[in-house]
């Protein structure tokens, strides 16, 4: 434990704190910048294939998040600072889940909303109940349904995309017109599967290249910043719910599934602290993702699936109590 431990307002009989959320500021900073670095390849790829609009969105979202962290943090005197990289991470994650054609002011606003209403008013880092980046995305979904559901452009490597042409995402095409239309959309790099994995498909800025997202996730796994429990459970959940429709392959490789599974569902603060809890959490996210994609009102479900599972985290922490106290500590 560190000196930064927050004393509860009154001595609670027993406190089941979710996971290792209390860390030395040093550690937080290091972890956050590692995560940001792990996201960099996917972000760069998004900027490369979607061109200037994507760059603008990334900059605006990060600026919104960092600026509001600096301002709001000062107003309400939270102990977090801009330098620890968590606001940067929130803004970056938000940007990576956005379509390239979202207006810049909206991206900025989304970042600000995420920080202020999902984090600052709960007392800053460590106390939020929902993943801030996804709250930002859900807010933008509710505010600007059109750009958020139709702001996709066809990828063209190395800024070849002079005039951006709007198109549908593979999942959107699958919902509206069926599997053939989705596969036609993916013809770019020879085989549709190669397009999906390499990242030559329409989609959110940071989600298109499964390869680079997994690479970043691999770094986090190797540095033991995250464990594979939650991502694996999510994949199993998606597989189980989408297999009956016969399109499990498309579902596993498209949309923001990997970005969500590796970078957002694994957020320490908003995921359960015990292994069994994490398995249930992951399965729930995967199942909800599949259900929303197939039966729900949106083509992509991972964002809402994680938010809905976030609401259950305090309960999961109670149902799957650790046998002995979990020591918040360095990931050895």
């Amino acid at each position: 434990m560190s000196a930064e431990t927050i004393a509860p307002p009154e001595p609670a009989p027993f406190v089941i704190a979710p996971g290792p959320h209390v860390r030395a500021e040093e550690t937080t900073t290091k972890i956050m910048w590692t995560v940001n670095a792990a996201l960099a390849p996917a972000a760069l790829w998004g900027a490369l294939v979607f061109g200037l609009p994507a760059v603008g969105v990334i900059v605006a979202a990060v600026a919104g998040a960092v600026a509001s962290e600096a301002v709001a943090g000062r107003v309400v005197r939270t102990r977090t600072s801009v330098r620890d990289g968590s606001a940067f991470c929130t803004g970056l994650l938000l940007a990576l889940t956005l379509p390239p054609l979202v207006p810049l002011w909206a991206a900025f606003l989304g970042g600000a909303f995420a920080i202020i209403f999902a984090k600052t008013i709960f007392g800053g880092l460590g106390y939020n109940l929902f993943n801030p980046a996804l709250i930002g995305r859900a807010f933008l979904m509710a505010t600007l349904p059109l750009p958020m559901t139709a702001g996709w452009i066809t990828p063209a490597p190395f800024f070849a995309n002079a005039a951006a042409v709007t198109t549908a995402t593979p999942l959107g095409a699958w919902r509206e017109q069926g599997i053939t239309a989705a596969m036609n959309l993916l013809g770019g790099a020879g085989s549709p599967w190669v397009s999906l994995i390499v990242g030559l498909r329409p989609g959110s800025i940071g989600e298109v290249s499964v390869l680079l997202v997994v690479l970043g996730g691999g770094v986090l796994l190797a540095r033991r910043i995250i464990t594979p429990t939650i991502p694996l459970s999510i994949l199993v959940g998606v597989l189980l719910t989408t297999a009956p429709s016969g399109q499990a392959g498309l579902h596993l490789l498209s949309g923001g599934l990997w970005l969500g599974a590796l970078f957002m569902a694994t957020d320490y603060v908003t995921s359960p602290s015990t292994r069994n809890g994490q398995i249930v959490f992951g399965l729930l996210i995967g199942a909800l993702t599949g259900i929303i994609r197939i039966y729900g009102g949106y083509p992509e479900g991972i964002c809402y699936a994680i938010l809905l599972a976030n609401t259950l985290v305090p309960a999961l922490n109670l149902w799957f109590r650790p046998r002995r106290p979990v020591f918040a500590g360095a990931p050895s």
Binding site: A142, T143, L144
Partner: protein
């Protein structure tokens, strides 16, 4: 909360009672909760006015009725009697609004009927109308009712302006700026933000001391 407020020996004057209802003990922002269904459904100023007027009428009419007949009501059956009085006035106003303003009513009809369950109305009857003479009771009911109306219009204006870019149906901006605030989730945020604002105002007035009201008790 509201039930425990001590009353002065002599009933205060009309102006004081009105101001108390609108600001001091504003039933929405200061006494909180009891009206939230009505508050949250006000996505437009027109809805806010409709519900606000309905609540105002119910409050004034019930207060006056209770003040008039309170000697005839046996203390043992006070609560059922008050409930019946409120329900009668709510039904009457519900039918009137449905008949005269069918278009507006269609959007808020359920909530007009549910005014009957707003605990703050019956608590006003308990606290004030059952003990005070007719005239101050009238002013108190009017003040409380205006307080509702004020709050509903403020919230309606906030949400209509941000959510649909209009005020009272008159378009201010052609594009909807923040549709979010017209949605149910946005309603919760609106109330949260406005309550925090009034809290901060109160703290500032008291020189940084914590506010006493809006603490979150359980009204039925």
């Amino acid at each position: 909360m509201s039930q425990t407020i001590l009353l002065p020996e002599r009933p205060p004057g009309a102006v004081a009672l009105l101001l108390n209802g609108i600001f001091g003990e504003n039933p929405v922002f200061r006494l909180a909760l009891s009206l939230c269904p009505a508050v949250a459904v006000t996505t437009t100023v027109a809805n806010g006015i409709m519900l606000g007027v309905a609540v105002l009428l119910v409050q004034v009419l019930s207060s006056v009725t209770v003040a008039l007949v309170r000697r005839g009501i046996h203390p043992r059956v006070r609560i059922p009697a008050y409930t019946i009085i409120i329900a009668v006035w709510v039904s009457a106003i519900d039918m009137t609004l449905a008949g005269y303003f069918p278009v507006l009513y269609a959007q808020v009809g359920l909530y007009v009927k549910l005014i009957v369950a707003f605990a703050i109305i019956i608590s006003r009857l308990e606290v004030f109308a059952s003990r005070m003479p007719l005239i101050p009771t009238f002013w108190d009911g009017l003040g409380m009712g205006l307080g509702f109306l004020f709050a509903l219009v403020v919230i309606g204006a906030f949400r209509e302006l941000l959510g649909s870019g209009a005020i009272l149906g008159h378009v201010v901006t052609p594009e909807k700026p923040l549709l979010f605030f017209a949605l149910p989730a946005g309603g919760f945020f609106t109330i949260g933000i406005l309550m925090a604002f009034f809290n901060a105002l109160e703290r500032w007035k008291r020189g940084g001391k914590a506010p006493t009201a809006a603490g979150g008790g359980a009204h039925g």
